[in-house]
Symmetry: D2
Subunit: 374 residues, 4 copies
């Protein structure tokens, strides 16, 4: 990952500001002959799109993605497929309300990157957050939709597992539930209470943080690489790069600090399929930076929305002390919409490692290399 590009063989470069003419990305290195239409991408964008429930910002944008390059109709099948050349995607910014920015253009909003952009670059596009806006994440979701098609049998799903003090009961985990409530929450009982909780926060002009869990199933064993190409290292970078994320963990994560070796190490038996079977998954599907074949489990913490109504002390770019309160369209819990974004980043990282593994080792799995019998 460097600057505005992530990935090595599956490479995604994003561009665009919140209130510029458009946002977009270039997906380079995608294998050829993968069926791809806008309709493969749009549903994922629709999941992330704001304005779908009263719990997310009311900015209304169709977020209609256009493919500008890298696809062609395969004559044999009549289906539009990838050509192996760069796939450019673009979303026009429609809802750029002409707005009075006089209050925020000079003031640094606490928790936002206003000050750091100014101190780094000497100026910033302050309209809607400019490049720091979460609007950029739409392109991650779009790229993730392509990434999902690269690894055969891969499924990447996520859910909100904590909002403020409210945590899910893992015994009630139901993936189907995630699509049934506006919080992407796999615990129906918890989800039923989150609406009132958020309404209360909103009324107080406040906001709250959250924890998201992403699970990737069907990840082949052997992806990742020592030492600085570890699968978990790249996942950590990818998830930490999402706006407002302050922590990332894999498998047992921070709770591993309280485990003994006996509790933590996942014991192994042989499965009926002739492959090793792990009796637990504290590793989160990754050992030594390489996938085990178990589900890859990552979790990340999202801080509360920094744009809140309640006035905060701050300074402006002229060094004057002042106050600011943010009005306008903002999610009280940005963690909610982080679910599809987290899924997308995990899918992109796995697709990249899938291609890297195939490059170094080839299509044939290395193991079992020696004959079973001995």
């Amino acid at each position: 990952m460097s600057f505005n590009t992530f990935g090595h063989l599956f490479r995604v470069t994003t561009f665009g500001e919140s209130h510029g003419p458009a946002i977009g990305c270039v997906v380079d290195g995608c294998p050829p002959r993968i069926p791809l239409n806008e309709s493969d991408i749009q549903p994922y964008l629709d999941r992330r799109r704001p304005g779908q429930s009263r719990y997310t910002t009311q900015r209304q944008e169709p977020d209609a993605v256009k493919i500008l390059s890298g696809v062609f109709v395969d004559e044999a099948s009549g289906v539009q497929v990838t050509t192996g050349t760069p796939i450019a995607l673009v979303i026009d910014n429609i809802d750029q309300r002409s707005k009075d920015y006089s209050d925020i253009k000079d003031k640094y909003r606490p928790g936002h990157a206003d000050y750091t952009y100014d101190v780094k670059y000497g100026l910033r596009d302050y309209r809607g957050g400019g490049r720091q806006s979460a609007r950029e994440t739409a392109m991650r979701v779009a790229a993730g939709a392509i990434a999902r098609k690269i690894v055969p049998g891969l499924t990447v799903r996520g859910g909100l597992v904590q909002m403020g003090p409210h945590r899910i009961d893992r015994a009630r985990w139901d993936w189907a539930e995630v699509e049934r409530n506006p919080f992407f929450c796999p615990d129906a009982k918890l989800a039923a209470t989150l609406g009132d909780y958020l309404d209360g926060l909103r009324k107080r002009g406040s906001s709250i943080g959250a924890v998201i869990e992403v699970v990737a199933e069907g990840v082949p064993a052997g992806l990742g690489a020592p030492i600085y190409g570890k699968l978990d290292g790249d996942l950590a970078a990818a998830l930490m790069s999402i706006n407002a994320v302050k922590g990332v963990e894999i498998g047992a994560g921070f709770s591993a600090a309280e485990l003994t070796g006996e509790q933590n190490g996942d014991e192994m038996r042989m499965g009926n399929d002739g492959k090793p079977l792990f009796l637990s998954n504290n590793a989160g599907g990754i050992l030594g930076g390489i996938s085990t074949g178990q589900p890859v489990v990552a979790r990340f913490a999202v801080k509360p929305t920094s744009s809140i109504l309640n006035p905060r002390r701050t300074v402006d770019r002229y060094g004057r002390e002042t106050e600011i309160s943010t009005t306008g369209r903002h999610d009280p819990c940005v963690g909610i919409r982080a679910v599809p974004i987290g899924e997308a980043m995990v899918a992109c990282v796995i697709a990249d490692h899938y291609l890297r593994q195939r490059g170094q080792i080839g299509d044939t799995p290395a193991w079992p290399f020696p004959p079973r019998a001995r």
Copy 2:
């Protein structure tokens, strides 16, 4: 980060296995004319070196680092300095006990990367863990010693803040204490109890996890870059790439999930030095992926040592179910020695971003760009 290299302008490539002839690294992109001798690196290696207390493995290696290239005596000063060309460092492996590996060469140790290396590569150097051995981290520490010399005014320090159920009391934090106890623990009172705790674990043939905190002071504001070159994204990758690490957080980290916007956003006032002053540091010194000038605070969780005496169920590379118990030299808490390693990784990331920032923006700070008065 890719494969065995990390960093973009300050680039570190490591090599070597636990029981091969040597381990080493190549540090590329280091600025020229920085005074550098083995004696600048060795003290950091000595801090990480095993066998220094009964709480770490008794492997006895001097870990004497040799500089093979990239330095020359500056005639004007008579001091050996970097030349701007690659600095190769090497440590000979001395204590490669000839040992019977018959028990572990075919069996997959739970919690280790034995299975994943085999499944990826089709074979592995099983002696002492081969490339997965934490011995590789000596070269991170060596590279970190160089990185520390690049950013003027930078100080990077770390401490153990949790071991199993035992957490420090932050009110008792004393950096001087870190060097006084064998646990790198900034809380003297807690440190006094950890010896007995570890002895108990060792007697039971067990092990325990830990949490390490690294604080970098003197980080100039403006380091890091949107969107995939974020300072926290690179820190997350760097720390997650350390052996046995399962979680990384910045500033408030996972606890941010329970904070409201009012609690989380760090308010700003003007300091006496004419620079903004943050009234708290939940951001951990990073907003929007760019340093604020506050201390950069990162925390990471280390799982318990996987090599334990107590027998565990596993399989071997021939698909047979079996058991394994690990004898030999092992730290009951690998988290202890992770402190100097974590420091080194943070130093390397900051040095890299310092050079990247200078490349894009130049030596002159961008801010304050407009005149203060208006």
Copy 3:
């Protein structure tokens, strides 16, 4: 350079096919606060644009570039400047004539990449050459227009120095002449004959190769880096990556093979400005991969246009032997329009190295380091 991205700190990623909806690029890593409007880029595109004389293809496209991101009006000056975030540029494809591709969609045109794209990807966008079309080079020119603004005092100019058997007389070199004839030829006398020469070739349904020379003046000494980051290594890659280029040389180039050491080595004296003065420039401004401060001189050979009227033997993608002759809009000498493209690539490479040098060494020149007097 990798896939569709080139550069390290000044990074350009291009996308788009000849007959897709648009072509474009993302320029990442550009320093902030550089004045930039479409009008800074358009003149360079207009120079490269086809259809400007009867000696280039008659495809008529305005090639109007749009900036989608990465710029903002600087309040202090009222001028639109770069923000340091990715600059996305896009050109809509207007003149996508609906055309009958039945002849070329299955047949492999000799000299084109039809076969290699098919063998690599299993399919290709055959409309107008798809991704292999020289249309992609418009984005190089656009990126080059930005690159030119990064290095203070840099001037990059090019000229056609050979077309088929016709070579310029260096004694007649006049930069002003380059803009006065449709061949970018610095030798007015030669230029006066090239029109008839090309008319003759066109009438015979043929085409011809050329050699282009690019000269960069104002390149600071010290750019480039050993060993694989050499300035000439990157120039070679950049120029060889232009469509139809088959050779690249620096300074004396291939003629250096016939020189003795006495003839080749550029002797040095002290100039009036206190800087070294080279008495010749066989080095082409680069020694050991690092710029000397002299003009950087690169030359590249462009093969003749492969699309010719005269029928050629070939095969189709079904393995059948056949013939093909190319009708339609084609430059008889693609080398002509390679002039602005070559300039752009040289500008991009120098801008990238300027930022890389500044990253590793800083703004202050390293030399003269020791006091002059001794």
Copy 4:
């Protein structure tokens, strides 16, 4: 390629100065389970090694390579193989004569990088050229020996085709001859005259340039990638990065500038093996940056040795005008020993692209994709 690393999936990082303790490299990304011993590498080093004939420098070094990591004995076969982890190679510098450097440490030798290293870094290791020494190329040759083992069926051979005014007669090309004369010249008749020619040059204290041709056979069709990952772009960078190289060309190269489209485009027929057969190879095995399956043919020009006895005008680092003449061990034609180096670079580039191609596309060739019959 960046700084001291080249390649993307097959990555080589070199280090070391001419008169430091050692030179070495790290080869990262090599596929596992490839048989590898020092004896696979040493013969290539011996070919490049100086002191083997009176026509190359008399520096006497055994150049014995040691493998420090990345290999292990495969139990099944008893053969030492690569493990997929970084392969570190090192050669101790033996013949570091203690010598008086007082003449060259301050003076800039014309044609050398003395001045540019000083101007870039502010100091340089002047002993034997330091990092600019061609000694670094030994590690290229070592890495190339590994690269040769990666692509099944690949053969990479080179020969000297021009020395000063003397060019080979292609009708007499005999690969076997290359190993029979000290000039790696495939034309026995020409080789017979080169000894006297070089003796004459040496007596006059002079030196001469050369052109080398490298031919890679067995390159699978489909390697390389548009647009900035072209196979020829990477070859150009790799060859231009060799010390003293001033020009690179592919296939017809610069002579393509004088060809018509009819002469240049390689016509195609169907071969008996069911694959396309090209009737000529002006493309040098590469079209649109992608290999055609024909031999890849690259040529590069090497300037004359800059270290000559005859005195040259120059300046010193204190800005004083002076003269210098180089005594000591130097090849009168460095182009001779460039043959094995050029071969190695071509092998490394092809190995890298082979892995990249396999990553994006997989093991199965994409073509012929559609059914032959139609």
